[in-house]
C-alpha cells in the first residue's frame, strides 16, 4: 500500500487546516484514528528579532525530507505524512515548518511526527539567519547540540 506523503518547500504561509484535510483525504482508509500536527514558529527572542531568513539547498532539501519520511514510514505504521517547510523571510509568530502524521492509533503518529522534526532539524539542508529589530543584519543561527542528541536517541532505539 502506498502511504500518501506530501513534501513541500514554499515561500508562502502554511495553511495547516488545508494541509491536514488534503492529507487525510488522500488516505484510502476509514480507520484514521489519530492525526498529530506540529508547527514550528519564528520567535522574536524577547523582541530582539524582526525576522528569520531561511535559506535552503533546493533539490536536496526535498530529497532529504523524502528520505526521512520514508524512514518514518518504515519504522511506524503510519497512514500518511506531510512535511511543509517555508523559506525566505519569516516574521515572529509565523509558521516556519509543519509536520502532519496520521495513523490508526496515536502513538505511531506522535512518534513519526517527532522523528520527522528531529531529523529535519539536523539533516535537511536549511539555514536560519537572524534579522534584528533595529534593522541590522544578525548572524547565522548556530546548530544546537540538543538537536543532535535528539537524533542520536532515535538511532539508539533503532
Amino acid at each position: 500500500m502506498t502511504i500518501p506523503t506530501r513534501i513541500a518547500i514554499q515561500q508562502h504561509a502554511i495553511d495547516l487546516s488545508a494541509e491536514t484535510t488534503a492529507l487525510t483525504s488522500a488516505i484510502d482508509s476509514t480507520d484514521i484514528g489519530a492525526v498529530v500536527t506540529f508547527t514550528g514558529h519564528c520567535r522574536s527572542e524577547d523582541d530582539r528579532l524582526a525576522a528569520l531568513e531561511l535559506e535552503h539547498y533546493a533539490g536536496m532539501a526535498e530529497t532529504e525530507i523524502g528520505r526521512i519520511a520514508a524512514d518514518a514510514i518504515a519504522r511506524w505504521p503510519v497512514l500518511g505524512l506531510s512535511a511543509i517547510h517555508r523559506v525566505g523571510r519569516i516574521a515572529p509568530g509565523e509558521t516556519i515548518v509543519a509536520v502532519i502524521a496520521v495513523s490508526r492509533h496515536r502513538q505511531a503518529a506522535f512518534d513519526a511526527a517527532q522523528y520527522l522534526m528531529d531529523f529535519l532539524k539536523t539533516r535537511a539542508p536549511f539555514w536560519k539567519k537572524e534579522h534584528f529589530a533595529d534593522g541590522t543584519e544578525g548572524d547565522w543561527v548556530d546548530a544546537r547540540a540538543s538537536d543532535d542528541e535528539a537524533v542520536t536517541r532515535w538511532q539508539a532505539t533503532g
Binding site: Y57, M60, V97, F126, W127, W140, D142, A143
Partner: protein, 83 residues
Amino acid sequence: MKVLYFAWLRERVGRGEEEIALPDSVETVADLMQYLKTRGPEYEHAFSDVAAIRAAIDQTHADHDAAIGEAREIALFPPMTGG
C-alpha cells in the same frame, strides 16, 4: 565539477556556486576543502575551520573522507538549522 556553498560559507566565499576543474590530487571531500583554501584569502577564511563544515555529494550527505569520484555536484555548508 559544480561546487555549491550555503549560509555563512556562501557569504565568506562570495558566491553560491561555481564550476571548478579539480586537480587529480583531489580525491575526497577533505582534499577538496584543502584545495579550496589555496584559492584566495576569502576561501582561506571560509575554510579556516573545516571540522565545522558539512558536505553533500550529489545531494546526499557525505563524510569528509568520502570519495568524490564522478560526482556532478558537491555542496559545502555549516551544520543545518532548519525546522
